[in-house]
Symmetry: D2
Subunit: 138 residues, 4 copies
């Protein structure tokens, strides 16, 4: 079974900061997406391939727990790992200080497949996901 | 006891849309903030008053459940209600279609007080919150 | 000839602020868009009608001059006026303090029509624009 | 005299896209800032050092000319070059397709120094800028 995780490294942009001189909480959602898309790109199932497969994968549930604050100049590792793929695509995230390893944020997202043509939600993930990831449904 | 909720009405901006022609999931976080700040402004405890009271109120936990999609031109009501204020400020949100009342998103945020001078988290909400809201801690 | 301008009133969101406690310069682009779309909606040629008419109208030139800073809580009027419509759609903007009338920003955008099917730029604006605006090309 | 330019490479994020499946025009402002800050960081005068030197450097003029569209997956080079530093800091930008070299956007920004303590605009750039850049005013 393949390793279903990926890590990216990034540093906050100035335009991600708020008046407290730290990253505005809503901007973490962008960091999660960057890690998620890099992970899915490894399996050749990033946004363009999703679209070409006939499915959109809207987020239906998202939770973020903020453990520490993130100032400008701090380098972080964003780790994304696929933990469910049968009926929905669940990804867990940890954002850590790249130097100290200290945890800054823990999050998850849940996506479901939506047929682009029928606009219907799929209650089982379409087989294209399993083929791309190289996994078997239970 | 005062009513601890508030509603705002808004319609998505074009720049909030993604390639699916619906609001990008991360932009809902902005809508929650608009409703939260309008609610707190009613109690004269919006961002400038928070800052002047010596406290920042960072989000430490945020969860959004996406029930439906939100296209351009759809008017929505964002309702925010304070449901905890003793040790942390917990606010629950519902985003509904302004016309049909159909639910589009349900969310919550949890904030804690952080002393701006000491940078220390407060494990009990500072009394200024209760005075502003007109509530008593349990 | 119709009046080709419109004004909206808005107040910066907290998430529009930067560490200087003023609106980050890039966020003014969103305010221009809100005024532009409200103006075009008056003529029934906002984004959905543009798309349905077979044309996208990408921005090809944009300039902003920042005259003053914009803090949280300040209400502003954003005025958008169409000043060219023959070969390209040029709109001029002024952002003013709603109370004092003091100018905060002056800007313009230039858009050209792009056929959605052929992806080709139009060197003359398509007649649908003139019909919607109720104007005549020179 | 030092080389006063720098290049970064980047690829659009999914959350930078609009319903036309290309980067929303306002998001280019973020790409300019990333290149500008990387350039200034080379001279040890990025945002934290600016702040510590007692000056903010607000953008007072910004122009972008959009030559081509930018889809997801396209890698681009953003080049930023300082072309004025005596009375104001003017930076010119070119965004090019990393593979073909084709131009996608040309832009400039103009910043002036603002004393953080007095909130007064400086009509001549403060000497700290020249020292950091290793240049002489004319």
């Amino acid at each position: 079974m393949p390793e279903l995780w990926h890590e990216i490294e990034l540093s906050p942009a100035f335009h991600d900061l708020d008046p407290m001189d730290i990253v505005w909480h809503g901007n973490y959602v962008k960091y999660l997406e960057l890690a998620r898309n890099a992970l899915l790109a490894r399996f050749n199932y990033d946004y363009p391939q999703m679209r070409d497969s006939g499915y959109a994968w809207p987020i239906v549930d998202m939770r973020l727990k903020y453990v520490d604050m993130l100032p400008y100049g701090r380098r972080v590792i964003v780790r994304a790992e696929i933990v469910e793929w049968e009926n929905r695509l669940k990804i867990e995230y940890v954002i850590r200080d790249a130097e100290t390893g200290k945890s800054i944020n823990k999050a998850h997202t849940i996506q479901v497949a939506l047929s682009i043509t029928t606009r219907e939600m799929q209650y089982v993930c379409p087989p294209v996901l399993w083929q791309k990831l190289g996994v078997e449904p239970a």
